[in-house]
């Protein structure tokens, strides 16, 4: 008979960690805000329906709004009814609502933290929660310092070196708006929390298709041998949004596409595509490999920025037949704004695997459709037997990983057309999540919140990775800042970007993919 380890819990054996999250309270700073209503509470509700939340669990909304427990529950209910992927049932709601509480408070006021602490200490024993807490900062970046120190000074942070009770802090992007400010944010966070208590969230990494990049690369033997400069000609990463800035103009004016998309989502995506194989799936092993990759990105010197980067703004145009305004005509956008809504980059990775392989990145708003994909284009065969007409060469093999929508992947190969002649025609082998697996996937926030509750930091950004990505971005920001240009290249709304971006890729003899 096995020796039973009673100081651990023998009943948890065989139940996946994800099925046994530890008892805790989640405190949502900005609990009465939009992110809470649209994403966090519906995600928690769906986790509860799946039985994935701890049985000893409470949610406390913490914000300045004058809500009570009851009105917070109404607010939560409305959010679930509107935004949850599964509809609300009364029995499930009754059960879930019993775990929701609200504490009004001012983030800058020490007394509010004292009141929060008292509330938590009153609630937690009733639920059998040993004081373990997850704080979610769903607040504007300017409040991060205040809240972090408020928690710390208010005695709401458990010692980092003890397993229980634990304290974990979730911080939303952006972490800073440039390298110095990112470092300052990290300094503040680390003044009050240990790195292993910090979860810098990038919801992009919670998407099933992004996670599938690792499964595809390292769970199949056929791709990795080809995953290098010997076989890959170039890579294209596209993250296109169909909408303009809309209601986010206020934030977007201070950010722009480089900060909003490239520094976080796209560099994280690139790191998964290009990183070296990890030796285990442990969080820090994966995060080390991602960091290695970010550190291999060839710096773009300020004087080379124009050769490797294009920025642009959308002008008025048409989206699906309808008039679409130009960026400078959008509400809350300055008439002389130089904020870029589009970025194209040519990136090189200076390591053995990727030497000489260009990575082309493009992202923008007001594009013809919403689409995110990574396309890996392979080199031509070494000796051409078919379609020897140089004006009509064979289409290269392309492995396209579709992140959204129409999640899946396709491989373009050449096939002989039926008939007496030998004619090669490009065909696609297609895998689509929806067609194969059918069921709805969990939302990214469900996966990520659960990961925090169970203490799995794999899909979160570590301080060194955040700073490495800012470090690479910073010369581009500096060059654009220093240029003093009053007008950026433009592209009509509803198109794939400016001609300057076409020239960037055309200079290497390539073209953007038709999506």
């Amino acid at each position: 008979m096995n020796d039973i380890q009673f100081d651990e819990n023998p009943l948890t054996s065989g139940l996946a960690d994800k099925l046994l999250p530890q008892a805790c309270t989640m405190v949502i700073f900005g609990g009465a805000g939009d992110l809470s209503r649209r994403k966090l509470i519906p995600a928690l509700y769906n986790l509860a329906l799946d039985g994935l939340l701890p049985t000893q669990f409470a949610v406390v909304g913490f914000a300045v709004d004058a809500l009570t427990d009851e009105s917070f529950r109404e607010f939560a209910r409305e959010g679930i009814e509107t935004f949850s992927r599964r509809s609300l049932s009364e029995e499930d709601w009754e059960d879930f609502a019993g775990h929701l509480f609200y504490q009004q408070g001012n983030f800058s006021d020490a007394a509010s933290y004292a009141a929060l602490k008292a509330r938590l200490e009153a609630l937690e024993p009733q639920f059998g929660i040993p004081g373990s807490r997850v704080y979610y900062l769903a607040i504007p970046p300017s409040f991060i310092d205040t809240c972090v120190f408020g928690l710390h000074d208010g005695g709401l942070v458990a010692p980092a070196d003890q397993p229980l009770p634990f304290t974990r802090l979730i911080v939303e992007k952006p972490i800073g708006r440039d390298l110095p400010s990112a470092r300052a944010v990290n300094r503040s966070l680390k003044a009050c929390f240990a790195e292993h208590q910090l979860y810098r969230i990038d919801h992009y990494l919670g998407k099933e298709t992004v996670q599938n990049i690792l499964a595809m690369r390292f769970g199949n033997s056929i791709f990795e041998p080809l995953w290098n400069s010997k076989y890959i000609d170039h890579v294209q990463i596209t993250v296109a949004e169909a909408e303009g800035v809309g209601t986010r103009a206020g934030y977007y004016e201070t950010a722009g596409a480089l900060r909003d998309m490239v520094q976080n989502h796209i560099l994280q995506l690139l790191s998964l595509i290009a990183m070296e194989p990890p030796w285990s799936m442990r969080a820090d092993v994966i995060r080390d490999r991602r960091l290695d990759l970010l550190q291999c990105l060839r710096p773009i010197r300020s004087r080379d920025v124009d050769r490797h980067a294009v920025r642009a703004q959308y002008a008025s145009g048409f989206y699906r037949g309808k008039n679409a305004p130009g960026y400078r005509r959008e509400e809350r956008v300055a008439a002389d704004s130089t904020t870029e809504t589009y970025v194209a980059l040519r990136v090189f990775i200076d390591n053995w695997r990727w030497a000489g392989v260009p990575i082309y990145i493009r992202t923008g708003k007001a594009m013809p459709k919403r689409v995110s994909e990574v396309a890996v284009q392979f080199k031509a065969v070494p000796h051409m037997l078919f379609n020897t007409d140089t004006d009509h060469p064979l289409e290269p093999n392309v492995l396209a990983l579709r992140i959204q929508p129409d999640e899946g992947m396709s491989l373009r190969i050449g096939s002989k057309l039926p008939g007496p002649k030998v004619r090669i025609y490009p065909v696609k082998m297609d895998f689509r999540y929806g067609s194969t697996f059918g069921d709805q996937s969990p939302e990214a926030y469900e996966r990520l919140l659960l990961d925090v509750i169970v203490g799995d930091a794999t899909l979160f950004m570590r301080d060194d990775a955040v700073e490495a990505s800012w470090q690479w971005i910073q010369p581009i920001l500096d060059a654009w800042e220093a240029s003093g240009e009053r007008w950026l290249p433009e592209y009509p709304a509803g198109t794939w970007g400016p001609v300057e971006a076409d020239r960037l890729i055309d200079a290497d003899g390539h073209a953007w993919r038709q999506l």
Binding site: D3, F6, A48, D92
Partner: protein, 385 residues
């Protein structure tokens, strides 16, 4: 899904008939919306005893393939099937996805008599899609290992056999037969009762966690459990799991009446029990209610005090689609975990995604086997569902 004798075809025509169905669906799509996709993650054989169960299986297939697209083969053993021939019937189940794609899964039924199992197996072999996992869902209430030649004919084609012990008429005999079969085969076996127990395992693991009730797991000395009709195998397996995780060995089992069962377990050599720790046996009582659903309705776990830690207990009740935990400590609020009623085909679809064997399940049925062995033969015979 009524069908007349004329609807049945010779098995050699199955592929041709499927091609015709695909051509029809494709033709309907032309000029319409979207494309047609044949979706198959697995080959799934469903073994049924009799016509009524075959029709029941057919009704479950649309939901099964919605969750796990597959080529489904219904294998219907018909007691009064005329002659040695195997009769076939085919159709496809289609649904439209949000992007307009028509997703279709194939459904093939074979009907045959007891003497034609090998003949039917040869049809199945020719219809399995290559390079896809193959599983058999044993829908019949007979335990597969007691079904004899008909099980032996189809089992080698499956990498996983999914069965359901809920409703077995003679649990001790069936448990012994299944564990013996599993020991001599490499095929993964899976009991849907184990999946039904997942919420129970989760709430027990969380509510009895050492961080919440220190030392309770080592000091359990009594369990009382009530279940509905046909749910004894569920209770049996849950107790088998608890015993296996807590290092208990069954010493004696007594079926006092048809609806009450007791076991006595002895503690093992857990680290905290070392040095002559806790000699008390664990007394377990299982009661069957004569009405209600085939579920574990209630459970009470009690532990004694030891000078440092107090005695205590925890009550669990299945209410609606939640299992609720009522701690004896009045300072603690009750907790709960969803245990929604799942249709069989949903559970099977979920299980099809788990192709590796579950070591914990194997350990649990090993203790279940030991629990069956200590049950006195005459007592076991009195057990009914």
């Amino acid at each position: 899904m009524d069908r007349s004798p004329d609807d049945y075809i010779d098995p050699v025509q199955i592929e041709r008939e499927l091609a015709a169905i695909w051509a029809t669906i494709d033709g309907q799509q032309k000029g319409g919306r979207g494309t047609v996709t044949r979706a198959s993650m697995s080959n799934v054989m469903i073994f049924c005893d009799g016509e009524a169960q075959a029709l029941d299986a057919a009704n479950r297939i649309p939901l099964l393939v919605q969750h796990h697209p597959a080529r489904v083969l219904v294998l219907a053993l018909i007691a009064d099937h005329p002659g040695d021939d195997v009769r076939a019937w085919v159709t496809a189940h289609c649904r439209r996805t949000s992007d307009g794609t028509q997703l279709c899964a194939e459904h093939i039924e074979l009907r045959f008599g007891a003497s034609s199992a090998e003949r039917a197996a040869s049809v199945v072999r020719s219809l399995l899609i290559a390079d896809l996992p193959s599983a058999m869902w044993w829908l019949s209430p007979r335990p597969p290992a007691l079904a004899g030649a008909v099980f032996d004919a189809f089992a080698p084609m499956a990498e996983q056999i999914i069965y359901d012990s809920v409703g077995w008429s003679d649990p001790p005999r069936a448990v012994l037969a299944m564990t013996r079969w599993a020991k001599s085969h490499r095929t993964v076996i899976f009991n849907l009762a184990w999946r039904r127990l997942k919420p129970w395992r989760r709430i027990l693991a969380q509510s009895l966690a050492p961080t919440l009730v220190p030392g309770a797991l080592q000091r359990i000395d009594a369990i009382e459990l009530r279940h509905g009709p046909h749910a004894l195998p569920l209770a049996w397996l849950l107790l088998g799991w608890l015993a296996c995780r807590l290092g208990w060995q069954p010493r004696q089992g007594i079926a006092k009446t048809g609806d009450q069962l007791t076991w006595q377990f002895e503690r093992g050599t857990g680290r905290s029990n070392a040095g002559g720790g806790n000699p008390r046996p664990i007394q377990i009582k299982v009661h069957r209610d004569n009405e209600g659903a085939a579920l574990i309705d209630q459970m009470r776990i009690a532990w004694h005090g030891d000078g440092e830690q107090p005695a205590g207990s925890a009550d669990y009740r299945h209410e609606g689609h939640y299992i609720r935990h009522f701690p004896s400590d009045p300072a603690l609020l009750p907790s709960s975990i969803p245990a929604p009623e799942q249709r069989l085909e949903q559970m099977v679809a979920a299980q099809l995604a788990h192709r590796a064997g579950d070591a914990l399940f194997t350990d649990a049925i090993a203790i279940s086997e030991a629990m069956a062995k200590v049950m006195k033969a005459k007592d076991a015979a009195t057990l009914s569902q």
